[in-house]
């Protein structure tokens, strides 16, 4: 896909690696960031920008439509929907990014080790990853959350475990192609330790595919996280995320469809933005180019 490879190469005072220019000039990444950044910013600011206390009930204004005093309307208890969507976004984004970070933290070292060690170690580690992946994602998440109490940390952990094998797989196949490079051989000949070779020599050269896979996973992690909340196994009432909002809204769908629509739209836009960014990154950091820039 040769779209948007016309990088702006004019000097900007300090030298950015050319890859940064490519990333910034990619149309999909640009669009994705244009959607995601405002959502993330508002979610981070949370209470500061929310017009009302998200838990305050305004009984007289239950099921209010959008416009008027409450910009997006109110829910069945008369709580301001805009404020709740904002605060819910914080939990949903935290789930997505937290779980992906955990998956990277677990998956990358496993993938590096498997791809570098090869042979039996590789076979063993990848079989274990295959077996974890053979459990349908949502069922694995359910299994973990049935045993552990549902709180935001355990949800992050459950989704992290679900996605770590996918990260490990991608890291491994990138490592396989890099580990025969001369600089790795040289490091080995110098007598560097294995952790040094893995993290200082190989890792910097396999970041492309890892970043792509990670960015794709964020969207899926948000989807799984909100799905678990929807089933009542998510972060739970103190931190109502979009999934929990949508599941509550279903009971009041005929009084006010807006209760359902706003968190759905927010969720859809967020996942779409991360998908756009993931696809754009895939275009720019084509996995096939791994190892070419050392």
């Amino acid at each position: 896909m040769a779209t948007d490879t016309s990088t702006s190469t004019e000097s900007t005072g300090f030298d950015l690696p050319p890859i940064v220019g490519k990333v910034l000039s990619n149309r999909r990444i640009g669009l994705g960031l244009a959607i995601l950044l405002p959502i993330a910013l508002v979610a981070i600011l949370g209470e500061t920008v929310a017009p009302y206390d998200p838990t305050a009930t305004h009984v007289a204004d239950r099921y209010a439509g959008p416009g008027g005093q409450f910009l997006l309307g109110t829910d069945h208890l008369g709580r301001d929907l805009l404020s709740r969507v904002i605060l819910g976004g914080r939990t949903s984004l935290l789930l997505g990014f937290g779980a992906t970070a955990l998956a990277l933290l677990v998956g990358v070292p496993i993938g590096l080790t498997a791809g570098y060690a090869k042979g039996r170690v590789d076979e063993l580690l990848m079989r274990i990853m295959d077996i974890i992946m053979s459990v349908p994602t949502l069922l694995l998440g359910l299994l973990i959350l049935v045993v552990l109490p549902s709180n935001i940390l355990n949800v992050v952990m459950a989704i992290g475990v679900v996605y770590a094998p996918r990260i490990a797989r991608v890291t491994r196949s990138a490592t396989l192609s890099v580990s025969e490079e001369e600089y790795v051989m040289a490091a080995k000949a110098r007598g560097e330790s294995s952790p040094y070779i893995l993290f200082r020599e190989i890792l910097p050269n396999v970041t492309g595919p890892i970043v792509v896979e990670g960015s794709v996973r964020v969207g899926y992690a948000i989807m799984i996280g909100t799905s678990l909340s929807f089933l009542g196994l998510g972060a739970g009432p103190p931190n109502p995320d979009w999934g929990f909002m949508i599941s509550t809204a279903r009971d009041h769908i005929y009084q006010t469809p807006w209760f359902l629509i706003w968190p759905s739209v927010a969720l859809l836009l967020t996942v779409m933005a991360t998908n756009l960014i993931g696809d754009g990154l895939r275009d720019v950091l084509d996995p096939r180019e791994v190892g070419d820039h050392s």
Partner: protein, 318 residues
């Protein structure tokens, strides 16, 4: 057909099943007090926990429990439901069959709808049609199934557009039309992501195929464009799509949990959610293991079929 491969692939499938069974046993019964926690919730008294452990046979030595559990899975016996006392497999089996019907219809929709759309998008690359289909697939790819299900339910089952029943299931023996009428909406809702995914996969492999030399040759020879697309293009562009479909069986087995809940569909997903609500441990174990084993078998079957189609493929994938 390489027999060594067949033997090795079978061994791996069996080993995977064995390990998954062991892990589910381990997670639900081995972790300190976890089985009792599932049954009683996380804030149970010690006396209550002891009682439950006794009832479930968890006070027996671990190896005995383990052999008992694995033996049970092999013979299709997951014990009895803690709530209804009914044998678990009797509850699981009819529901699994219904869920498989739902999955089959969903698969069929993604083949019938997504593949032609992907081909059209590839053939009309970079035109308005392509942009529309591609951006539509972005929306499809980003919509969690519980959102699409709820929205479809809101817009297509209430008065202005009362086209579908709100949920439930009608057996095929009552006629194809009512059967399909009940399955269609949940199948579509469950499928938006896979549909979009298959569409994109078809589009990109078709784009690649259409740029290849033999297609160019066919065009130069004056083969009609329709034949170029459907005879030459389709045959070669489709193999990756088939793999994508097989891999997505796992995704489906997960999303039925949500879809069946929303459409009150009496399948295995609804059973799992009920079992979790009721803390019915044997049903939870079966509800997670049975679809997982089905998924492992489906992958196994897909690999074998694939090898039959393309003898070059060997075990060390990638």
């Amino acid at each position: 057909m390489n027999y060594l491969y067949l033997v090795k692939r079978t061994a791996i499938a069996l080993l995977s099943i064995f390990i998954v069974v062991s892990v589910v046993f381990g997670v639900t019964t081995l972790l300190p007090g976890s089985a009792a926690n599932i049954v009683l919730g996380t804030e149970a008294t010690d006396a209550a926990i002891e009682q439950v452990n006794e009832d479930l046979g968890l006070d027996r030595p671990l190896p005995v429990q383990y052999v008992d559990f694995v033996g049970g899975v092999v013979t299709g016996d997951f014990g009895n439901s803690l709530i209804s006392g009914q044998p678990v497999m009797e509850m699981v089996w009819p529901r699994l069959l219904r869920t498989l019907q739902l999955a089959a219809v969903a698969m069929l929709i993604s083949v019938v709808a997504a593949i032609p759309l992907g081909i059209v998008a590839a053939a009309k690359r970079d035109t308005m049609v392509d942009h529309l289909v591609t951006s539509g697939s972005y929306v499809g790819l980003s919509i969690p199934s519980f959102v699409s299900a709820t929205l479809l339910l809101l817009f297509l089952t209430t008065p202005p557009l009362d086209l579908f029943p709100k949920g439930g299931f009608v057996p095929l023996s009552d006629g194809v039309v009512p059967w399909l009428h009940h399955l269609l909406l949940p199948a579509i809702a469950m499928n938006t992501i896979i549909l979009a995914y298959v569409l994109r996969q078809t589009r990109s492999s078709m784009v690649e195929t259409l740029e290849s030399d033999y297609i160019r040759t066919a065009r130069l020879k004056g083969v009609a464009e329709r034949n170029v697309l459907f005879k030459h293009g389709l045959r070669n562009g489709l193999l990756p799509t088939v793999t994508v479909l097989a891999l997505n069986f796992g995704w489906m087995m997960g999303s039925v949990v949500i879809i069946e809940q929303i459409f009150a569909f009496p399948g295995i997903g609804e059973l799992i959610v009920q079992a979790i609500d009721n803390r019915d441990l044997p049903v939870i174990q079966a509800g997670i293991l049975v679809p997982t084993i089905a998924f492992i078998m489906a992958n196994f079957a897909a690999d074998i079929v694939y090898t039959l189609l393309d003898p070059r493929i060997s075990l060390g994938d990638e």
